[in-house]
Subunit: 638 residues, 2 copies
């Protein structure tokens, strides 16, 4: 006899057990109406996953328990598996705080169903401590739980036997990371199989990362195939954050058949009660609705990125209660894409573009900013900053009295100072003023290349509520701009010249459109910097130089061929450029990132909690220094 099973792909609000329980109870009610036999929810569906150190607050933990009891009580005629924190008030974690487990509870007919080992819940075994994950900070693992109960590991993994329509079924329950078995000494799914599991359930709370979905299909599909067991992957939707990073949770719950193929799948970023049938005898998984069989193939990368940024941004605005946005519009690509994004989400009346020209801004870019506002139909104003900048400069020349020497002196201003005065005047004086008065958040328009090397001014263009494009390299921002015109607005809201002009901050005579531009040459530096940040074994100057010497740097970085020779007339010039950016990346840029707005995370490595940093002095390895010296001596000789 086939069972009717469902995944409760739901939006989880971190830190709000009240709201999450309400949603869970609604979905249970819906499932009961649809005669679902077994309903699975995501990991930590009651408390949420990324709640910082709120895990230490007793009142919060107690409420999670209480709400968990409400869920258990609501399981008349249905079996429900849900994620919650399990607190053992009598024991302690290693840090001395009360013992907590990231747990999955199973309930039926108003009662808890213990595991086959007699435990109230299954605890997460593999506690990730990488990227944004800090599980060992808060949770003890399944191994610790079993040790305390003197249950041997072999007998103790998460098997729960449930009786449905008079028949017994063994569920093999695991939590998120338990399924990512690549580097853990223990394979939880294999142990579940050994324990007699007939159906694997992975309760997840897995943030979106570009290309993660295909990796998961590969890994989880193989798991199901090798173990000859169907595998339910139940993920959440919504957003959660770690302070410095905002994460989207893409849902995309699905069921792998015992042949490793995806049989049923829920959509990206949508709540859904995904129902399907499972026949234990034939091991068949079947969708009830044809649309659930439509497995979303990995869309075009840029399409996925836009969808994710839009979803994350929209939800972050909703969470923070922000209904309007203020954007500094320079006529460049970053602010143009940002403006188009917010207009798409909030509507044109809710978006204010402010162009703040100084004497260095060209007519070209000023017109482009205006044209953009016109195309989007949003609110627009021009506030020149010349007078204010002059006034500031004048005031900075106010005599300073030295009370030790009893003499007056004045400071001197140079070009860079003058540039930064302009940037801060725009960010902290005008945009922040409009932010309050227009009741909108400021968008920080920085991209990842700028953030990597700190090409941005403290309290200037680094102001903002958050940074929606901060995890995109400049070439991705351009591609997103093209996508926005072609697929979102289906017309050229971002004027064509925005794609053509050389990016420039327009803060000095030397640095204007048509007359010099950004010091970053994105066709090369985008890729160099990406290797520093995103490469699995973070590329160091030594590796970069080695590839340069071996003449395969462009292949290693993934940038266009010939560009290295084109940019650098000599080895010395190459090294100078490399060190310039590595010094900034590991130096001043770190200080800037510490005070930068949160970044919407998209890539496999976003600055913030995902990429932890200390302010240090820059270090070059022995190998780099040797290679460089040899190379430069050679160059000088020949």
């Amino acid at each position: 006899m086939a069972l009717k099973i469902a995944c409760g792909q739901m939006e989880i609000v971190p830190g709000r057990p009240d709201l999450n329980t309400k949603k869970i109870l609604q979905l249970i009610g819906l499932a009961q109406k649809e005669s679902v036999d077994i309903l699975v929810f995501p990991e930590l569906s009651v408390p949420g996953l990324l709640i910082g150190d709120l895990w230490e607050q007793t009142a919060f933990l107690k409420d999670c328990e209480t709400y968990g009891q409400q869920i258990i009580a609501a399981t008349q005629g249905i079996t429900v598996v849900f994620g919650n924190v399990a607190t053992d008030w009598k024991r302690k974690n290693k840090d001395g705080h009360v013992r907590k487990y990231n747990a999955a509870f199973t309930a039926q007919n108003g009662k808890l169903i213990p595991t086959e080992q007699g435990l109230d819940f299954v605890a997460k075994t593999s506690l990730p401590a990488y990227r944004e994950f800090d599980d060992p900070r808060y949770f003890s693992g399944q191994e610790m739980l079993l040790k305390d109960k003197r249950i041997s590991l072999k007998n103790g993994m998460g098997s729960v036997a449930v009786t449905v329509h008079g028949n017994k079924f063994k569920l093999g329950i695991m939590l998120c990371e338990d399924g990512w078995t690549e580097n853990y000494p223990l394979s939880v799914p294999a142990m579940l199989k050994l324990g007699g599991a007939e159906l694997l359930c992975n309760l997840s709370s897995s943030p979106f990362t570009l290309h993660k979905n295909s990796k998961r299909h590969y890994l989880f599909g193989n798991q199901a195939k090798e173990l000859h067991l169907p595998l339910i992957y139940c993920n959440q939707t919504g957003i959660q954050n770690t302070g410095k990073n905002i994460y989207t949770f893409d849902g995309q719950s699905c069921v792998y058949g015992s042949d490793g193929m995806v049989k049923v799948a829920a959509p990206m970023f949508e709540e859904k009660l995904l129902t399907f049938s499972w026949d234990k005898e034939t091991a068949k998984i079947r969708a009830y609705s044809a649309e659930d069989e439509l497995i979303t193939t990995e869309d075009d990368e840029i399409a996925i990125l836009y969808r994710t940024i839009r979803y994350g941004t929209q939800n972050f605005l909703k969470q923070t209660g922000i209904k309007r946005m203020v954007i500094g519009a320079s006529g460049g690509i970053d602010s143009a894409v940002t403006a188009a994004l917010f207009t798409d989400i909030l509507g044109p009346h809710q978006v204010l573009l402010v162009n703040m020209p100084s004497r260095y801004n060209s007519e070209l870019t000023k017109n482009l900013a205006q044209k953009l506002a016109e195309n989007l139909g949003c609110c627009y104003t021009i506030v020149p900053i010349n007078d204010s900048v002059s006034h500031t400069v004048e005031q900075l020349y106010t005599p300073i009295h030295n009370y030790t020497t009893n003499r007056d002196f004045k400071v001197e201003l140079n070009g860079v100072m003058y540039e930064n005065i302009q940037a801060r005047d725009r960010g902290s004086r005008i945009l922040a003023g409009f932010s309050a008065a227009f009741k909108g958040g400021i968008s920080c328009n920085a991209n990842k290349a700028e953030i990597t090397v700190g090409y941005g001014t403290f309290y200037g263009d680094l102001t903002g509520l958050f940074c929606p494009l901060g995890d995109l390299w400049k070439h991705q921002v351009y591609a997103l701009g093209r996508y926005v015109n072609e697929y979102v607005y289906k017309r050229k809201v971002i004027p064509e010249p925005v794609f053509q002009i050389r990016p420039s901050a327009e803060l000095s005579r030397e640095q204007t459109v048509g007359n010099g531009g950004d010091p970053l040459i994105y066709e090369y530096h985008d890729y160099l910097l990406r290797a520093f940040v995103e490469n699995w074994e973070k590329a160091s100057p030594a590796e970069i130089l080695k590839h340069y010497i071996d003449q395969d740097l462009e292949g290693f970085l993934g940038c266009k061929e010939g560009i290295v020779a084109q940019l650098f007339p000599s080895h010395a010039a190459f090294c100078q450029d490399l060190e310039r950016w590595y010094n900034l990346f590991t130096g001043l840029a770190v200080a800037k990132r510490i005070q930068a707005p949160p970044v919407l995370s998209l890539s496999k490595r976003a600055f913030g909690t995902d990429y932890r940093e200390a302010q240090m002095t820059t270090y070059y390895s022995l190998e780099y220094k040797e290679m460089k010296e040899k190379l430069l001596v050679q160059e000088r000789l020949f």
Copy 2:
């Protein structure tokens, strides 16, 4: 026969194996000259501890290995125990990165001395994952190492047998957290004793926390006493940071005799080769110099705080290469203490105080700022902000064009907006301008009470290089001010009225000195907020309200008796105040902290890496809501 042993209490520069190795080799040379038999260095003395995700960079790890070899090669005639990262290039950590251990190596006569189990090093067993520590993110533990080598735990703890002057001695080696045995299932020191250790060595990298030293004396002293073994505690000096937090390392290395008493101790914050003799037969530990027997008793709390802040600040400035500071001087206590601190460190010529009056600043506070500068002998200037603020307001009234309706409109400004315009004008326009032109860092003068509830303006008074007083409650800032006058300058550099006036931001007519002040009543809120942040089980509104109802809130919070009744005329007023600050603490203040400057950490819980936070919506527990409702119904009835 007694051995001559030494602790190499050294300053470690995080991420600089080159500099650290140089220092280690110098100390080895010195110890060789002094005929030291065994020399112990701190944990991770080659790479440093708080280096963020630099642990993932291969070039860095390779260099640590190379420098480790240099240290081993330099051990002619001496036994050296030092901390370094041990990389197993063939294995992986659970996250898939190369396997790393936080390790202690022992070397003698140019050769590595393996452990009694034949391993090249002792690995740290207890990997802390709380406060600022992220050990499991980077390191595998001793248990994993032994498992892979198929060595049972019982036989495998860190015993290293060294032969000195023809006699064998068994050192029991552990790393930092291994000695903090309170909540770990395994007691490393007890295991070492079981393994036959005759002398315990704890290699530490332990940041300063107020009152930690007495706790350590209690814990480590008992350990030595119970195991009847002398215990060497070798800690580092210097500063390290996690981005958001700057930590001082206080040194204070010492040796506990087998009676649990401290026999020899190195000073706080100073590098020192601390030598002593150990007689295995009599178990006696003896200092060579009488001054090393002077155990620093816990000084006055404020004296210790000043010393720590001074050391941390001085070193952070040194590391970042900043020789001058710019301070907004309002005439209030926070900026006065900050100015005195930086003048003490940098000298008066290097400190610029800027008073930036608007129409709301009183003659009283303006005069106090000037008097402070005069007393300190530092540089001083007055830059009024009236004109600029008026200009900004005028510019914000620029018509805005709505390109959908094709109509113009204007924003409206209210009082709070006007207040924040002033704050940002000071921070981002004037101070940031002077910061560049005077070539000095901006000091953020915020205290912990302000940071807790976000009482400060984005890009206004929250600008700065770092926040030296950010981990002090307002009453501690006052006490520090008194201390500075009495003990540092020995004269009233901070004028007496600064201590007497009610704190006020002076940003509006309602909020001037003598006419209202800060909304925080520090005599109460300092302590309420401290309970939210620093209590071991973070106090929630439910616990606060329970204590209020039980009429022991003042005792629970540690504030002065009678103040609660004095401040709150009704239960409703009490709850309203509680919720006002809890809403801010868990709401907007989190957003501000994400972009706030780094905080110098002093307490057992500083905002930042030590206290991780997500932006969420505020949650009140069921118990709180019930208690409150009952209380307010009661109040309405009677």
